[in-house]
């Protein structure tokens, strides 16, 4: 596939993500934050497509935007209390939090200025039309697949999480 208008789409999607992120952390209404997060996640799926990772983009749309965010919206609607809308948004230690985040930001800027030239352009040696097959090869292939065990552990983790969530949310155990 030939890339078309790459800088335009990158900056568009990046701006969507940043604005979505800012809206997530500054909205008083939790539903508005959730909608902003959905926008951010969908823009990220677009960025994955630009990075020649269509399978990760598909997984992101299905799991994150179509699964986790539905879960969030359900919980927000089930425990939505009017009281939260009238209170302050930021917690008691917001000043320390901003200071810590500023320190982290300073660290990032230091890393950027010192290490700007360390990252080569890079190219994908796998064509995009075979991306899913290549990912499956890494996971399942008899000779070159090395992520079979983590895959099984991940399914075990999901089982534990399901049991945990059901137990946590039950009224009487």
């Amino acid at each position: 596939m030939k890339p078309v208008a790459t800088p335009f789409f990158f900056y568009l999607l990046a701006a969507t993500m940043i604005i979505g992120g800012i809206l997530v952390i500054t909205r008083k209404n939790a539903v508005h934050s959730a909608m902003a997060l959905i926008t951010t996640l969908l823009a990220q799926a677009g960025l994955y497509l630009m990075l020649y990772a269509p399978f990760v983009a598909g997984v992101q749309i299905i799991l994150y935007a179509g699964g986790i965010m539905v879960l969030f919206l359900f919980v927000i609607m089930l425990i939505n209390i009017e009281r939260t809308m009238k209170e302050r948004q930021f917690n008691k230690q917001w000043l320390v939090g901003i200071a810590a985040a500023a320190a982290l930001g300073g660290l990032f800027i230091a890393v950027y200025t010192k290490g700007k030239l360390l990252f080569p352009e890079g190219s994908s040696s796998y064509p995009e039309a075979q991306n899913t097959q290549a990912v499956a090869g890494l996971l399942f292939d008899r000779h070159t697949g090395m992520y079979m065990f983590p895959f099984e552990i991940a399914s075990l983790l999901l089982l534990v999480a399901i049991i945990g969530a059901v137990v946590m949310a039950k009224k009487r155990i």
Partner: protein, 447 residues
């Protein structure tokens, strides 16, 4: 200017979809064509649903607005556009406004990868079927926010019920789809494909529609998907969330006018989208019936065989290639038959003339479809559309026939019947795919 014309013409000789070829002009043209086609299809569905339901219930349906009610959908659209736009008090205005757009967005974006032909898709993503399932699951978000933003009890309960139902049946749909993807891997390289065009090409290469593959596994997987897709789109008999007798209208109770028409548009587009998935995965997409049988070679000068040297040239191909024209001529014939049966009252003159004109237009389209140049290009699109239209008829038939499921019965069917059956079909398909070459070898060794 010459470069632009050169750019436009450079795509016409390629055998890729516009998205795969990176040609943004033709991609935009295809997007507009799909959008227009979808809108026309939804309008037709509105009329068809009312007329077919009416005839199933031994009554006539809309007869006044145009000849046999043909202009009824246009009247409905006008009414919806001109209605007052009501927003309930205390409703969250931003979310209330955004919710129908999410549902419409999810329903329309799915059509980016639907293949109407081997190159007649907007694009062919490597993750085609995954993309379609994922984006159609985004409509759950729109429904949940629509129900919540209405600030009213009926929509909230309807939205929670509807989203719970859709999420449950998505699992069954996914399992049925996975067993089909398994079947695409029975080729020389041993790798399957998630791309929609690849799945149809796999059916073409294996010479059989996947509904008949590993009988009865393909059929059971198709049945699971066919039931789950009706629950996914909230249609009868799974339409408790929007049942008028129980919940006034479910999650779109508080929506009026144009916003309601957006929900309506999204619902019918989603129906067509999941039917397209079913047609592509099990019924061979754009392939005609019996795609591997060609019959004896026939040559009629200037008419057959088609100009494309790689196209097949048997007698059966000729017969099936005439079907689009015959279908439209049949419709035109029915129109003209009804023109003759119209009452001979002077007040009916305009309706009679309208119906005759409609029949004439259909007949003209049918005659155009016999021209060899048009016939060869339209063949794929016609068979795909005919199969999707058959699914639409099934949807309307189910609505007219089945009583509604109660919500706990609905959830029970989704989790306790479809999910285990889907798992069983998946395991059996995997076992059969694994054992098939060795069984064939063993049989050949014996016989």
């Amino acid at each position: 200017m010459g470069a632009l014309v050169q750019y436009i013409q450079s795509y016409l000789s390629s055998d890729l979809t516009p998205g795969a070829a990176g040609n943004w002009f033709w991609a935009t043209v295809y997007v507009l064509l799909v959008f227009a086609g979808l809108s026309v299809a939804v309008i037709c569905m509105n009329w068809l649903e009312r007329k077919i339901l009416a005839h199933m219930q031994v009554r006539l349906g809309p007869m006044r607005v145009g000849p046999h009610g043909l202009l009824q959908p246009i009247a409905d659209a006008l009414k919806l556009l001109l209605k007052e736009d009501i927003i309930p008090a205390e409703a969250d205005a931003v979310v209330f406004w955004v919710a129908p757009f999410i549902v419409v967005l999810a329903a329309f974006t799915v059509f980016v990868v639907v293949p109407f032909g081997p190159t007649h898709a907007i694009t062919d993503m490597n993750i085609g079927i995954l993309f379609m399932l994922g984006v159609s699951s985004l409509s759950v978000l729109g429904i949940v926010t629509a129900g919540w933003a209405s600030n009213s009890h009926y929509p909230l309960i309807g939205a929670l019920r509807s989203s719970a139902q859709m999420v449950s049946y998505e699992v069954a749909m996914g399992l049925a789809v996975v067993s089909v993807i398994l079947m695409t891997s029975l080729n020389a390289e041993g790798t399957g494909t998630l791309s929609m065009i690849g799945i149809v090409r796999a059916q073409q290469a294996q010479g059989t529609w996947f509904i008949f593959k590993f009988f009865p596994l393909g059929l059971v997987a198709f049945a699971i998907f066919a039931v789950a897709m009706i629950a996914e789109t909230n249609r009868a008999p799974f339409d408790l969330p929007e049942a008028e007798s129980e919940l006034t209208a479910g999650f779109h109770t508080e929506y009026s006018g144009f916003r309601w028409s957006l929900f309506f548009l999204a619902e019918y587009s989603a129906m067509i989208a999941v039917s397209s998935i079913a047609v592509t995965l099990w019924l061979g997409g754009w392939l005609r019936p019996f795609p591997s049988l060609h019959g004896p070679e026939v040559a009629i000068p200037h008419v057959w065989p088609p100009v494309d040297p790689s196209a097949s040239r048997g007698a059966l191909d000729l017969v099936f290639a005439l079907c689009p024209g015959i279908a439209f001529l049949f419709l035109a014939g029915m129109c003209l038959f009804n023109v003759v049966r119209m009452p001979k009252h002077p007040l009916f003159k305009i309706q009679t003339m309208g119906l005759a004109a409609f029949g004439a237009v259909l007949g003209l389209i049918g005659l155009v479809l016999f021209v060899p140049l048009v016939r060869d290009r339209v063949n794929d699109i016609f068979w795909f559309s005919a199969k999707v239209a058959a699914f639409m008829y099934l949807y309307i038939w189910y609505r007219g026939t089945f009583p509604r499921y109660r919500f706990d019965q609905l959830m029970k069917v989704g989790w306790k019947v479809l999910l285990p059956t889907g798992l069983a079909v998946l395991i059996l398909t995997a076992a059969t795919a694994f054992l098939e070459p060795s069984v064939e070898q063993w049989l050949r060794h014996i016989l």
